[in-house]
Amino acid sequence: MIADIPTTESRPVLTVKDMKGHTDPDWCPGCGDFGVLHALKTAIVELGLAPNEVLTISGIGCSSNLPGYINTYGMHTLHGRALAVATGAQLANHKLKIIVTGGDGDGYGIGGNHFLHTMRRNVDLTYIVMDNQVYGLTTGQVSPTSIKGMKTKSTPFGSVENEINPIPLAIVGGATYVARGFTGQVRHLTDLIKGGIQHRGFSLIDTFSPCVTFNRDNTHEFFRQRTQKLEDQAHDPTDFSSAMARAYEWGDRIPIGLFWKRDDLLSLDQLEPVLDDDVPLARRPLGINAELSRSLIRELM
């Protein structure tokens, strides 16, 4: 049969260098996404995961190129569809560790419907959104998280629309691990990602990952001056009211860290009786036995 996910004994000891992917990143020099890539590689190494047990799935956009840059199984899917593909893959083989990466336009814009429903289903995956508040690959248009008033090529007089705040949206949407990272704090981001991978359920790590080319407003420096770790502020991530209150903070002080976590809800694969015997669907023999066939035909008689 198929060589499989490693057992505890056969787990490899890897370094971050071993996690280098097929291709070198083609992001602009200074792009925040380098920080996410490094944090994710480090998280995988520190958790002792093997490259063949991780499936990294992305949509389309600058940040969605990430699967090609990391040594895991990967799928670089269509724009906005990564979470749907990831749900199918997770249910087909729930022994895989599923990481989904993408940008704010991919996840909160064109993929918004899947974002809502993947959260409410509490699919066991870790969703890292490299949120640069702008469309980069299409050379600078307004995104769902662009701040109101932002001037871009598609809003030359300033955006008049309200932006999405993904943190409270995720908390009420059913995500069971909701965090915000910043690529200027890679160690902190690494720990958030590790927590997300270890969490059984839907984990969102919205990450400020500034675009050095098309976003002159929300820059690395902007966030460096304002971000403050929740972990330093006695925030209790199991306290819903506190999580929502902190999620709405914006201005001179912008919180990063783990806003919300709950462990009392089972993930979709745990809830689905078809997976009760724990054998991944993809590894089960095909075909229907004679007794079942007879019973299916009897229904038609």
């Binding site: 499989d4 749907a84 749900t87 893959a89 249910l91 419907n113 993809a282 008689m301």
Partner: protein, 594 residues
């Protein structure tokens, strides 16, 4: 013996129950059966008209005439009485329904619910009496009905059983005393048959093929596949998900297919439109899946509960760019069951999406089927999957080439989790190792080579699918070409043409649409005296496709696009008119207002 029964009323009047009871009685006696339900997108009200046709010979359509009409409301009487012909019977509740003008030789059979069941409450009693009277008219004994009613009502207690059996008895005895039909069902033709709708047959075909993942968004007329899958998911070990939209459906299916499951989804034309970009993605990833489009009358929301063969060009052109795909249109309800496992073996072998074009006629139509034809023990061939079938390539330190160039275009596939074959698949164009050549490392030569590798797979598919075979006399006066679901009605029309018009016709029915056995079809039609293409759409989608692949132009066309399926006499009339050169394109008028 060849008998057709029509039952009409409003949605919510409970037409399905007497229909199911009659159907089960017929197939248990070994009689063949074909049923079609004309209905609208309404939960209560409107006009529902169920036709059941039974015979001791196989029946492939609901035919041309009704022998027994059961009207459950005035509207049904007004719509259908005028079409009833000599020798037929009309059964109705005279308390509420008045007949109109009636043709000579039609027997009106009124009954009074008030007189026969004075104490009964509710409207369903009318159905019970009508059913009991109908069974008497068909020459069936009361015991058959008593057993069914007992089974149906025993959950509600003996009082309910007694009441309903009593009402049925009154209807049966009244019919025995007052009405006289010439109908008689043969006692038995041998072994009992099964009874299945096309959507269940598609779902069962998937189950037989080893589908482990099924996703859908509810959309008429494809929802029956979802219902069957959901009902059987746990006993069969199939992950069944109802998803937020069809974009999610197809992309979840892609995820499950890539992870190693046989994965399937179904929708109708509108949902299929949302799926098209992702079908291209499946081809670009080179992974197998089966997507069923149960066609309904379009465009847009169209006529959601009516049939059409209007999505051929949508399937041919689904998604941007050229990519390998297999398109197949099952030709009957039993063929729905057989087609899905065949298609899974092809898509697994050639690592590409497969599209099934069904339609409302065969997906929601029901047919008797010999249970021996429902063989779940089908061959399962998964193609070149690393770790399966001994196809594991030696790497010797070289990187695994997921998209290795091969003569067949097929590259061995590793599913995530497999040790040693880590790779990335992409919807961007890529090189043999899966590295993107759309961004930094653009390369027109690699792009050309990869495009050709993918498309090369279609030659292999063609070599494995059966060319269409001519049905009927090879030296016929005319060849009727159809595709998919029209096979049954075309073949009945051929019998009628021979019996009533002295015209010898044969049939070339196309099942495998892409790839198309174009040369074989051209050679076959070159031997035909006249060719008429019959299809259930406005523009002659198959005729235009055949012309684009072969330059072939037929002598005439028979088309229908009013939402209802062809009846045999529509095709007979079209053949007569085309052969007489009255017209090159015949469009029948559907006489029944349903």
């Amino acid at each position: 013996m060849d008998l057709a029964i029509g039952i009409g009323g409003a949605a919510g009047q409970g037409i399905a129950t007497p229909g199911d009871i009659l159907a089960r009685i017929f197939v248990r006696r070994g009689l063949h059966l074909n049923t079609y339900n004309a209905y609208q997108s309404i939960v209560r009200g409107g006009h529902i008209f169920l036709t059941l046709r039974t015979s001791d010979r196989p029946v492939q359509s609901t035919g041309d005439k009704l022998d027994l009409l059961i009207t459950l409301n005035q509207d049904t009487m007004d719509r259908h009485l005028k079409l009833m012909q000599r020798g037929s019977i009309v059964l109705y509740n005279a308390d509420k329904i008045q007949p109109g003008a009636v043709a000579d030789g039609v027997q009106l059979c009124p009954f009074s619910v008030k007189a026969l069941a004075p104490k009964a409450k509710g409207d369903l009693v009318q159905n019970t009496i009508a059913l009991a009277a109908a069974l008497k008219l068909l020459g069936l004994d009361f015991k058959t009905l008593e057993d069914i009613i007992t089974l149906q009502f025993q959950r509600k207690g003996q009082a309910a059983v007694d009441e309903n059996v009593g009402v049925a008895r009154a209807g049966y005895d009244y019919a025995a005393a007052e009405f006289n039909s010439g109908f008689s069902l043969p006692e038995t033709t041998g072994k009992p048959l099964a009874f299945v709708d096309g959507n269940s047959a598609l779902a069962m075909g998937g189950a037989a093929a080893g589908v482990r993942f099924y996703a859908a968004y509810p959309m008429s007329p494809s929802t029956g596949v979802l219902h069957w899958m959901a009902r059987h998911a746990r006993e069969l070990g199939i992950m069944v998900r109802q998803v937020e939209d069809e974009l999610g459906v197809i992309n979840m299916t892609i995820g499950a297919a890539h992870a190693g499951c046989r994965a399937m989804c179904a929708t109708s034309g509108g949902g299929f439109a949302l799926m098209t970009e992702a079908l291209g993605a499946a081809a670009m990833f080179e992974l197998p899946l089966v997507c069923i489009d149960v066609q309904r009358a379009g465009p847009a929301t169209g006529v959601p509960t009516k049939t059409e063969q209007g999505d051929l060009w949508q399937a041919l052109g689904a998604g941007q760019g050229d990519y390998p795909r297999i398109i197949v249109a099952p030709t009957s309800i039993p063929d729905c069951f057989k087609t899905v496992p065949e298609l899974f073996n092809l898509v697994d072998r050639f690592q590409c999406p497969g599209i099934v074009l069904s339609d409302l006629l065969i997906s929601e139509g029901r047919s008797s089927i010999d249970p021996a034809e429902l063989d779940f023990n089908v061959p399962i061939e998964r193609g070149e999957m690393i770790g399966l079938n001994g196809h594991t390539p030696e790497l010797n330190g070289t990187p695994y080439k997921r998209y290795e160039f091969t003569d067949s275009g097929i590259s061995p596939r590793a599913i995530p989790g497999t040790l040693g074959y880590v790779h990335v698949v992409a919807t961007d164009e890529h090189d043999e190792e899966g590295g993107l050549i759309s961004d930094e490392f653009t390369n027109p030569h690699k792009r050309q080579a990869m495009h050709e590798k993918r498309m090369r797979k279609m030659e292999g598919v063609l070599s494995l699918i059966d060319p269409p075979a001519l049905f009927g006399a090879p030296d016929a006066d005319v060849t009727l070409v159809g595709w998919g679901s029209t096979e049954g009605v075309i073949r009945e029309a051929i019998e009628k043409l021979a019996a009533e018009e002295n015209v010898v016709a044969n049939n070339l029915q196309i099942k495998w649409l892409v790839p198309l056995h174009a040369e074989h079809i051209l050679a076959t039609l070159a031997g035909s005296k006249k060719v008429i293409i019959v299809e259930n759409n406005y523009s002659g989608q198959f005729a235009r496709y055949l012309r684009s692949e072969t330059s072939f132009v037929p002598d005439g066309y028979i088309r229908k696009y009013d939402g209802e399926p062809f009846m045999p006499h529509h095709i007979v009339e079209g053949v007569k008119q085309v052969l007489a050169q009255v017209t090159r394109q015949y469009v029948p008028v559907h006489e029944m207002l349903v």
